[in-house]
């Protein structure tokens, strides 16, 4: 099986027209595919309207009980089902799922080490059998950032980590490509110049660019994630804008392709 795992974030989810545009592209991606979505911006805005102020450390949301209920409602309820209904209208037989559904993704509550993140999950296990069965009966999983611990507790989980975990787990038996759609054209030499895309990064180039501080802050966990996925058998990792997804799928230059070092390819 050849499976494309495509992750979108708030920059697509939060704008109805962008979401419509993305979904119409996504609907045309050939073959087996899984959509992973976050929705943190919408959750923050919605939470604030309920009097729940977002509290973030290193981009991770501190998740108390009220915040967990709120993100469960926004991610697994409103965003998931809105996306599914829109895909159904595009004749894509989507099904919106958390990691609790069918025990698809089991996590463990992050242990308190200095910082107590609350009900935040670190992924332990992916139920690849059920993902395969769902794909085989013709439904397309739309996976959100809620997982569970199999002991009755839901957990808020990073959507990039979910996309990577699905990709690496499924790569054990299948050809998997991983696409991260975000708010830039790709990895940029000059973050203020959308034309300065680095079309290809491998570990050598990455370590150079980090030394020169061209790649820093939020891009570091994204690329670490990408290299880890490649090491664990994922065929290709791409980072770029949602509107360029189809070009990326067709292998055209439109964003950044992450590759392992050449000698690791053989």
């Amino acid at each position: 099986m050849k499976i494309s795992i495509i992750k979108i974030g708030g920059n697509v989810i939060d704008y109805p027209e962008k979401l419509e545009e993305f979904l119409s592209i996504f609907a045309k991606v050939p073959g087996f595919k899984i959509l992973v979505h976050g929705g943190g911006v919408m959750a923050s805005r919605f939470g604030e309207s309920m009097g729940i102020m977002p509290e973030m450390i290193d981009g991770r949301r501190i998740t108390d009980k009220d915040t967990l209920d709120m993100v469960t409602m926004v991610y697994a309820g409103l965003i998931s089902k809105t996306v599914v209904a829109k895909l159904q209208a595009l004749k894509v037989n989507a099904i919106g799922l958390t990691g609790a559904d069918g025990n698809l993704i089991r996590s463990v509550k992050r242990p308190v080490r200095g910082i107590d993140y609350g009900f935040v999950g670190d992924i332990q296990e992916v139920n690849t059998t059920l993902f395969q069965q769902l794909l085989q009966i013709g439904v397309l999983p739309v996976v959100n950032a809620i997982t569970h611990d199999k002991k009755g507790q839901l957990l808020n989980t990073n959507a990039d980590s979910i996309a990577s975990a699905l990709a690496t787990s499924l790569a054990e038996e299948h050809h998997v490509d991983l696409y991260f759609c975000f708010n830039k054209q790709g990895v940029l030499i000059d973050e203020n110049n959308e034309q300065s895309i680095i079309p290809l990064i491998n570990e050598d180039i990455y370590s150079e660019l980090r030394k020169e501080n061209v790649i820093h802050s939020g891009m570091i966990p994204k690329l670490d994630n990408a290299f880890e996925a490649l090491k664990q058998g994922v065929q290709r990792v791409w980072i770029g804008k949602a509107e360029n997804l189809m070009m990326a799928v067709k292998g055209k230059t439109a964003g950044t392709i992450i590759e392992r070092q050449r000698y690791d390819l053989y």
Copy 2:
């Protein structure tokens, strides 16, 4: 296939201990099963905290855009995923679904005839093939009251109607029993006396009891629903308290069994 369809309402959903007790009973119901849940009381309470006041006509919620978003969050997000996580802890491989997921239940927005109910759906079609496939791969559908029109619109739908529609559609090919758990011991002769259960109702008894005004108001659509389901091939319809579900499953007297007239059984 023998399938039990079990519907629970707010009187179970809204009380954590009652929900735990019910789910531990439900987990032990043998064979293939589908859980259908509402959650109107929680939605009303949650909506009010957001400044959305419930507006009901004949027990149906007038559903404007904000109310639809809110019930989608509460039913398909918070309640669905809480129930799924709790069932997973009980080793039941539950999966929480709306009618939009996998196009399981397609509805049409209720036409305005005097009253504009807003985004309320009347059920058109049940995807029995996917329900069967899900049951066969070993997952247990937990279905909430959100459906869609296959044109991109989510719709708020009555959970009793969903349970009946699933039962009658699946009864075309399978042996289906339908259980409605509600806040009384069953259909009562004296609604203030929980001991006055009518153990068995058929159409003759029903028409007598309506004439005498023993059965009135909210019980009428419930029983009309039940007789309709029986006419369309459902084997057995039961109405009673959630805590007596297992007795009902085992065929013991605990609540009200609805039967067609005797001559219709052959």
